[in-house]
């Protein structure tokens, strides 16, 4: 369960503060996989980053007693100058995994990027990067995984593998996903939160959420 309490978030701009959310109160369950749906600029990613505590609201709080992953997206937390292995070890260290060697090996096996694991990440294709980030995330035990289109660039084999891993995790953990591709959302999620004009709405069944989201347009 995640609870948003009196949440206000704005970004400074030349035209004065741009409010994304104003005094938002909301609650939604996270036992199943939740998709966050909304138009461009509606605040999906902002909400997502606030859930992960990568950013903080101006006022109000995000309450949850679950261990959440970092927002897994293509660019986050990966140093392009450093090799895949070094990046993996960094992520393992700050998340205090029990055994670094063990973690490193599991990531290497899962990511399937072969010898390139020891080359700087800047030489990777975007698909390989996505594989690495996803592998780093899924091999740490979180209660809720936050995934931001990171799986969309992987090849079908990897996507199948990712889905299997997530389904496996789903027995014990939840997932929150942001994506524009409905196919992908159908593949991974079972319920939805729709953002419209700074207001949130929870749908227990994914299809209801999707149709509400489509009607907006």
């Amino acid at each position: 369960m995640i609870k948003l309490e009196n949440l206000t978030k704005s970004y400074p701009s030349k035209l004065g503060p741009q409010y994304i959310f104003r005094n938002l109160n909301f609650e939604f369950p996270t036992e199943s996989s939740v998709a966050i749906l909304g138009k461009n600029g509606s605040g999906k990613s902002t909400l997502f980053r606030m859930l992960a505590k990568s950013e903080y609201p101006d006022r109000g709080r995000v309450l949850s007693n679950k261990a959440m992953s970092w927002p897994v997206a293509l660019q986050t937390g990966i140093h392009p100058q450093m090799s895949g292995r070094e990046n993996t070890r960094f992520i393992g260290r700050i998340n205090q995994v029990a055994s670094l060697t063990d973690y490193e090996k599991r990531v290497q096996d899962f990511a399937e990027i072969g010898a390139k694991f020891d080359l700087p990440v800047k030489t990777y294709s975007s698909g390989m990067r996505a594989k690495l980030v996803f592998a780093c995330c899924i091999n740490i035990d979180f209660d809720i995984y936050l995934i931001d289109e990171a799986t969309s660039v992987g090849d079908p084999t990897f996507r199948r593998k990712a889905r299997r891993a997530l389904q496996e995790k789903n027995k014990t953990a939840g997932m929150i996903m942001v994506s524009h591709e409905l196919d992908q959302i159908r593949e991974f999620c079972t319920s939805a939160v729709v953002i419209e004009d700074g207001a949130l709405k929870y749908f227990h069944a994914l299809e209801e959420g999707i149709s509400a989201y489509m009607e907006e347009k």
Partner: protein
């Protein structure tokens, strides 16, 4: 979820250690490697002090010219090195703030710590060189010298943090910073002694805590040099005020820095 103080402290330690390793690794990516960070200031300080001691006489107010120059240059280089690189670390590590464990101050602390380790290495190199070349050097009060060095480092860290926060909001402050730090090299008693300046001009110089630190460091090595016009209390006061200002500035603004 309440976390005990001990677990929090452990968390901070892991993050700073991980960032520290990352910083070292990225320095190793350079063709010249980490060694350059040690060699460059060492050669600079050593050559400059040596050249000066060849040109001008034997001693300045009973301190051998080589030791006199060396202390001044180490002081100024430590401070300027810190001010030059540490404020940028706040921005350089920006992608990492996606991990909620990594907070902006952790990267500032790590950068300052790295700077400290490197400069300490340079001091060790110089000490070895002095010993090997059998140069004239004495150290009367090592405790005072250590206290001074830690104060210097804390002061540099505090001022770096202030600049880091300001630069995060107004990037142009970076230009002002480099303009302000350039004359420091010349007004911090690096090349001259405060005693050589007529006393009526002292107020123009002694506002600068670096003058106090450098002059007292010479006094700590050679008590006959004297400590007229400078005081340890002043350094403590300035460091305390700067540190307080830096931490409060950071405290009110760090969450805003994240969304920039």
């Amino acid at each position: 979820m309440e976390l005990s103080f001990k677990t929090q402290l452990r968390g901070w330690r892991t993050v700073i250690f991980a960032l520290f390793l990352r910083e070292l690794q990225s320095k190793f990516n350079d063709k010249l490697g980490l060694g350059w960070a040690f060699v460059e200031p060492f050669v600079f300080i050593f050559a400059m002090s040596f050249a000066r001691s060849l040109i001008s006489g034997n001693d300045v107010h009973s301190v051998p010219v080589f030791a006199f120059m060396m202390i001044g240059l180490i002081g100024v280089r430590t401070f300027l090195g810190c001010i030059g690189s540490v404020p940028n670390s706040l921005k350089a590590n920006k992608p990492l703030y996606a991990f909620r464990q990594v907070q902006p101050i952790a990267s500032v602390l790590t950068a300052a710590f790295t700077e400290f380790v490197v400069k300490f290495g340079v001091i060790v190199l110089i000490a070895i060189a002095i010993y090997v070349l059998n140069l004239d050097f004495e150290l009367k009060d090592p405790m005072l010298l250590i206290v001074l060095y830690f104060l210097l480092w804390t002061l540099a860290l505090a001022i770096s943090l202030i600049f880091a926060v300001l630069i995060a909001f107004v990037p142009e402050v970076n230009k002002i910073k480099s303009m302000l730090s350039r004359p420091l090299f010349f007004i911090s008693c690096t090349f001259f002694s405060l005693q050589d300046i007529p006393e009526k001009f002292w107020p123009w110089l002694v506002w600068n805590p670096l003058v106090h630190i450098i002059e007292l460091a010479r006094y700590a090595c050679y008590p006959s040099y004297g400590n007229k016009g400078v005081s340890l209390e002043f350094i403590f006061e300035v460091t305390g005020v700067c540190l307080f200002l830096a931490l409060s500035l950071y405290h009110i603004s760090w969450k805003k820095i994240l969304s920039r």
